[in-house]
């Protein structure tokens, strides 16, 4: 198989950074691609449906996605995901602060070239985590 067709399975964290928080009962996860090529991949593959599936057990509502191409970022809103939100919630992480890390742990199948072309940050991250 030509090398540009080969794929590898990696945690999303190799491709992106992310941070999450709350707005009432809605959790937000802002995702930032580590390169422009990865951003293109994100736009096609990191869909609201993907995120909804990944958070199936906590997200009772819709997932919306907004694009911020200037930051190579997309922002997900996970509606009805915090057990009523803020002070009403009985969940331990009532503000969804851990959701970004959980999303970044998701494994995805990507073209090998996307990984090799990634940023220096990602390489450093990989080395220090090994």
């Amino acid at each position: 198989m030509p090398s540009d067709r080969r794929t590898v399975r990696v945690p999303l964290m190799k491709l992106c950074l992310a941070r999450s928080g709350d707005k009432g009962d809605t959790a937000n996860i802002g995702v930032i691609a580590r390169s422009e090529a990865i951003y293109e991949w994100i736009l096609e593959h990191l869909t609201p449906a993907f995120v909804k599936r990944h958070f199936d057990d906590v997200c009772q509502g819709e997932v919306e996605r907004f694009e911020l191409p200037n930051l190579l970022a997309v922002n997900f809103l996970l509606h009805r995901s915090l057990g009523g939100g803020g002070t009403l919630s009985l969940l331990l992480d009532a503000q969804g602060k851990t959701y970004a890390q959980y999303l970044l742990a998701a494994e995805v199948e990507v073209p090998e070239g996307l990984i090799h072309a990634d940023s220096r940050d990602a390489h450093q991250h990989e080395q220090r985590h090994v």
Partner: protein
């Protein structure tokens, strides 16, 4: 070209008390901005004030101020804070007493911005045709009117700007938009007009980036192994130019880091659509450009703004029942199987999960934050039981006493948390987001004897 430095010294009421001093003493700054008001804080402060009329503002502010006020007064650093809570006048009296105590009363001029507090005028607003409908659910306020604990409009930067113009060097507000405390000094120093949307947007972006303190300087950062140390983490500074562009940085010899990624992560923190609505301007977060200008220095340019919204947001808090938590630790082998057995026995003893408005348990160490990431059974789990109910007595008499007995009456390898004791129901405060016409919020600025409308 004129340049000003604005320092943030905390992301919430309860942030590191060493931060104000670290920001003032770590290098040159022109403004120190301090945030004390989470949504739930307003309800707590209204209750305090109902019992003791001289209270109603976060008392911690005074000890933070004591650390830095003499130096700020001497160096001409101006302080802007929302520490007025629901009693800005009471807060001013305390600050003036502190200044006298420190022997610097002649060098401290307090400015107040008031008018955000709508708690006392809710019924007047309702009868004048402000429905204060819940923005999320569409419900009418009458459904919870009797249970309202506080009501505050999020006001913009104009009042703070006016107080700066009148020479105040400690400016105290109640509820203002989070970014307003950072935007105001820029408007004051650079003379931006109220319709200079792009410049105002730049100020809002700056305010948003630094309003959570160290979350833009390496805290809560995906690539945490790149952060050299979190010890003495530097709180953020913005160095702002007349054209609205600014650099996010921190003082030398502090922990943390400032990179394009630490700043970008904070820009997308707790936002909705990229059109970020504030009382002063709608800032387009999909317009700004970030560039690493040097070590721990990120340049932010290109912010675009759109006209400010016609209405102001109001946050109304109200009593929404009671809740309690109880915890037991279950260790392995077979920690999960045993924990499930404990949970089953606990809910039976506590009258059944269905007998509460809401009830659940989570296994901390396994699935409490999200679905499990571990591929093998945990060595131990903390079982957290939680209930919410309208009846405080039910929680205290049926839920609370049934936690610890499970240590003797269920599986082996179970223990209770030493410092926990029997849980007690605590009040649940919920929030009601609404909109109000700008004309319905009468803002005033008070500096010395001067009391003027905005």
């Amino acid at each position: 070209m004129k340049r000003i430095v604005i320092a943030n010294c905390g992301g919430f009421w309860g942030d590191d008390p060493a931060a104000p001093r670290r920001q003032v003493e770590g290098g040159p700054i022109d403004y120190l901005v301090m945030d004390y008001l989470a949504e739930v804080t307003m309800a707590i402060l209204q209750k305090q004030r109902a019992r003791h009329p001289e209270t109603g503002y976060p008392a911690d502010f005074l000890s933070h101020l004591r650390d830095v006020l003499p130096t700020c007064a001497q160096r001409g650093i101006r302080i802007i804070t929302n520490a007025g809570g629901v009693n800005p006048l009471g807060c001013r009296a305390a600050v003036e007493a502190l200044a006298r105590d420190l022997g610097i009363a002649d060098r401290v001029k307090v400015g107040l911005v008031v008018g955000d507090d709508l708690f006392g005028s809710l019924d007047g607003l309702l009868s004048s045709g402000e429905p204060l409908t819940n923005m999320d659910t569409g419900q009418a306020l009458s459904e919870i009117r009797a249970r309202v604990l506080s009501a505050n409009a999020y006001i913009g930067a104009a009042g703070i700007v006016k107080a700066l113009e009148q020479g105040a060097n400690v400016i105290i507000t109640g509820r203002v938009a989070d970014a307003a405390v950072t935007l105001a000094p820029m408007v004051h120093e650079f003379g931006w007009s109220p319709t200079d949307w792009d410049h105002l947007a730049s100020g809002v972006v700056a305010g948003h980036i630094i309003e959570c303190g160290t979350q833009c300087t390496g805290g809560n950062f995906t690539d945490w192994p790149l952060v050299n140390t979190y010890r003495k983490i530097g709180f953020p500074l913005v160095e702002v130019e007349e054209d609205g562009s600014f650099v996010v940085t921190k003082h030398p010899n502090t922990g943390g880091m400032v990179s394009v990624h630490t700043v970008a992560e904070q820009i997308v923190y707790e936002i909705g659509p990229p059109a970020y609505v504030t009382p002063d301007v709608v800032a387009r977060f999909d317009s700004v450009r970030l560039a690493q200008e040097g070590p721990d220095r990120v340049k932010v340019t290109g912010a675009r703004g759109e006209p400010a919204p016609a209405k102001l947001k109001v946050s109304i808090s109200y009593h929404a029942g009671w809740r309690a938590f109880g915890r037991l630790l279950v260790s392995g082998p077979e920690a999960l199987a045993k924990a499930n057995k404990v949970a089953e026995a606990f809910w039976d003893a506590a009258g059944g999960r269905g007998s509460y408005d809401q009830a659940l348990h989570q296994f901390v160490g396994w699935n409490a934050c999200h679905a499990p990431l571990a591929s093998c059974e945990p060595g131990e789990v903390l079982v957290q039981f939680a209930v919410r109910d309208h009846d405080e007595r039910k929680i205290n008499s049926r839920f609370a006493p049934q936690i610890v007995p499970r240590v003797l009456g269920t599986v082996p390898g179970i223990t209770y948390i030493a410092d926990q004791g029997r849980p007690r129901a605590s009040e649940v405060v919920a929030f009601w987001p609404a909109l109000v016409a700008r004309e319905s919020v009468a803002q005033r600025v008070i500096v010395g004897e001067d009391d003027s409308a905005i």
